[in-house]
């Protein structure tokens, strides 16, 4: 029972981190109709920039400064890269972002090397806040939870209660109408792209010390972010939140419980063969839940696409 509570907290941390990435991506996706393959690369840039800044000025300055830098970089990419490619259609855009992801990884390796960087959480948060039957919850994780929730509330407020948010929402669905009304839609797009990448940057800054700052970090998180926005529904912020939490909890619980598939096979009345190497189901007999944990979100995505192509809270089809 205690372990369930601990896993709920761990899953919440993972889920909220995922949300910070997917919230930006889902807005960008519904706006341009194109997957931004480089989105997780901006997350990586956030971590690396923050590491470099924290060496000189400390973690808190890095948390404030690194995301805007990433956001500006993202906005410039939209203005001078994507917008030019846009007129050639979706496929060139896709290839552009894909190339960008590879480029960013190489650039990061060029400047910081291939080794994992010693990016640490700030000392003030480097203690165990509380413990549930021996399992300590680091203060830093609680800090991550609060930052993510604050960002969600802030985004929701801006999108639903302010004039800027109304224009963005309108531009997502009816760009031509909004343009006719005299708003600068390309500027809106650039802004959304910049804010989206800046959010990925925030995620990078706070995840870097926990999940590790190394050149493979973007690749590791990249694909799961796409799964999240498809499951949540394109363009839906609450959907992105629900899907992120769902996937965070699924992966955490799957890795936590060593359920064996042998038990399932036994329940079906099969008998465990004495010599596994001869059995056709040899892999199934030795498989455990943690081993297949990482693919569960993809199974979820397939199920969602089959039974609810709009996503959990989306309004239009993928």
């Amino acid at each position: 029972m205690d372990l369930i509570l601990v896993n709920l907290i761990d899953g919440l941390v993972t889920g909220l981190l995922l949300f910070m990435l997917s919230s930006g991506l889902t807005l960008i996706f519904s706006m341009m109709g194109v997957l931004n393959f480089a989105h997780a690369s901006f997350y990586m840039l956030g971590a690396y920039f923050a590491y470099q800044i924290s060496l000189a000025l400390g973690f808190w300055v890095a948390l404030l400064v690194a995301p805007p830098i990433v956001g500006v970089a993202g906005a410039l990419v939209e203005r001078y890269g994507l917008r030019r490619v846009h007129k050639f259609g979706h496929v060139p855009e896709l290839i552009f972002t894909f190339g960008l992801a590879l480029l960013i990884e190489e650039v990061v390796q060029f400047f910081w090397g291939k080794n994992q960087l010693p990016f640490e959480e700030p000392e003030i948060l480097d203690f165990a806040l509380f413990a549930i039957s021996g399992n300590t919850i680091p203060a830093y994780k609680v800090f991550m939870i609060f930052i993510s929730i604050a960002i969600f509330i802030g985004l929701l407020y801006i999108l639903t209660k302010t004039r800027v948010g109304l224009i963005i929402q309108a531009a997502l669905t009816h760009p031509n109408t909004v343009e006719t009304l005299g708003h600068n839609v390309p500027l809106v797009f650039m802004g959304v792209f910049g804010v989206g990448t800046a959010l990925a940057g925030v995620a990078g800054v706070i995840a870097g010390p926990v999940l590790g700052t190394f050149p493979g970090m973007a690749f590791l998180l990249g694909s799961i972010v796409f799964v999240t926005i498809v499951v949540g529904g394109l363009g839906s912020l609450p959907g992105a939140l629900v899907a992120s939490l769902l996937i965070g909890w699924i992966t955490t619980f799957a890795a936590s419980y060593n359920l064996e598939f042998a038990d399932v096979l036994l329940a079906f009345g099969l008998e465990r063969p004495a010599d596994l190497s001869e059995s056709m189901l040899a892999d199934a007999w030795t498989l455990t839940l943690p081993q297949i944990g990482p693919i569960l979100p993809y199974i979820l995505m397939v199920l969602i696409l089959v039974f609810r192509p709009y996503g959990l809270m989306g309004k239009r089809s993928v």
Binding site: L3, V6, N7, D10, V13, T14, G113, K114, N115, Q116, L117, P118, E120, A128, A131, G134, N135, T136, P138, V210, L211, G212, F214, G216, L220, L221, I224, T251, T252, F253, A255, S256, N258, T288, P290, Q291, G293, P294
Partner: protein, 417 residues
């Protein structure tokens, strides 16, 4: 006419090239082909190894007057991108250049491919044989079922390391529960199997409370694994993880409030030592040959300091390279030739060598496995003479198993020339 002419030219050129190669082999430096990843994701390990080989050749042999009364040793790097296929191509290139010695270490998959290819080559070309110096690939099969006369392993293999580790655990009365966790592939499985076998034999009272494999390079957050380890009440964790999987697992376990020991094979250097920093102190241990702290002698200390001065971005991560270099030079001198590798191999077999790192190294004739002291080393910042990763932290020897696994069995039945 034209074709005949071309063929003649081609043949003449061919003769000239091979004559040139033979000439170089007889009069030039003694060349060692270094076939390891120098680009791609494992380039850090490869370039670090190359620096260690170059330094060992310069300091231990060339500046001491070389081999065979004045010949220098030259390390020739070949990039295999850690692919077995690419390695075989590079091996052929090296052989065509008249190189007689092949050094390789990263990935047992590559080593398995090379040892087969070299064995076949030597059978077919008895006049132009080459020798395989395996300085790091630890798959036990290489000195068991897959052994051959031309392969020499200077690292302690995975079974020997586990044997040494469990010897140390045997003495720890307080130890009650052990958790095994590793990457889901051949090496991770080999480590787990060796741990189960050795612990069962030496400490049947110790309970193995967890034995699991996680997807390699795919786990984003190791916290759930850390929770399971905490819940199991383990006193010790054994893992063969390397790279970011090692750092992720270690940091998660420490973050979850674990107070026991984590025994690892590869949790040092290449950024790992620096990343663990103060958090890893008193928790992270590493099983390996050749401890650099405390230095075994002034000579060893000077060797490490000299290396750090010459290559500030690299560390002495594979101490055995110094042993391999010295022993090979000794064998060449004893054989009186660098070209007849069968004679050199005969001198290497059964050789006992006073290691620069203290203790001695013995090449077991029956399987060509180097038998040497294996140390349990702790990650700490106390008593560090030679730190890693340009940090304050490094590894300090805490206990030693002398001549580990000297009488361990081997299934090797090698054919001698």
């Amino acid at each position: 006419m034209n074709t005949v002419f071309k063929t003649t030219i081609g043949a003449a050129a061919g003769v000239a090239i091979s004559a040139g190669a033979a000439f170089a082999a007889a009069h030039g430096p003694v060349k060692i082909a270094f076939i390891d990843p120098l680009s791609g994701p494992f380039a850090t390990t490869g370039t670090n190894g190359l620096a260690e080989w170059n330094y060992a050749a310069d300091v231990l042999v060339n500046s001491q007057g070389g081999v065979l009364g004045g010949k220098q040793i030259e390390i020739v790097p070949f990039d295999n991108k850690i692919s077995p296929k690419e390695s075989l191509i590079q091996l052929q290139v090296a052989i065509d250049q008249g190189i007689k010695y092949i050094a390789q270490g990263n990935s047992s998959g590559v080593a398995n491919a090379l040892t087969d290819a070299i064995n076949k080559h030597n059978k077919r070309n008895p006049d132009n044989r080459v020798l395989f110096i395996n300085y790091s690939a630890v798959d036990p099969a290489l000195t068991n079922d897959k052994c051959n006369y031309w392969h020499f392993r200077f690292d302690a293999n995975a079974d020997i390391k586990m044997d040494a580790l469990t010897d140390v655990m045997k003495r720890d009365e307080a130890l009650k529960k052990v958790y095994l966790v590793g990457q889901d592939y051949s090496f991770g499985k080999a480590v787990a199997a060796a741990a189960v076998k050795n612990l069962g034999a030496k400490r049947p009272d110790v309970e193995i409370v967890g034995n699991e494999l996680h997807p390699i390079g795919k786990v984003k957050d190791f916290t759930p694994y850390a929770r399971k380890i905490m819940a199991s009440g383990a006193d010790a964790v054994i893992t063969g993880n390397w790279g970011s999987d090692m750092v992720g697992l270690g940091k998660a376990i420490i973050g979850a409030g674990y107070k026991g020991q984590i025994y690892t094979y590869y949790a040092a250097s290449n950024g790992i030592t620096k990343t663990f920093g103060a958090d890893g102190k008193g928790v992270i241990n590493l099983v390996a040959e050749g401890a650099i702290n405390p230095p075994a002698s002034d000579r060893a200390d000077a060797y490490v300091k000299g290396f750090e001065a010459k290559y500030p971005d690299h560390d002495i991560t594979q101490a055995r390279i110094a042993n391999a270099m010295e022993m090979l030079a000794k064998a060449i001198d004893a054989a009186g030739t660098a070209d007849d590798v069968a004679a050199v191999a005969a001198k290497l077999e059964g050789m006992e060598h006073e290691s620069i790192w203290g203790g001695s190294v013995y090449i077991r004739p029956e399987d060509h496995q180097a038998i040497q002291d294996v140390h349990i080393q702790a990650h700490t910042d106390e008593g560090i003479t030679n730190a890693l990763d340009n940090s304050d932290f490094g590894l300090v020897k805490v206990s030693t198993v002398e001549m580990a696994a000297l009488d361990s069995p081997t299934s090797c039945k090698m054919k001698r020339p």
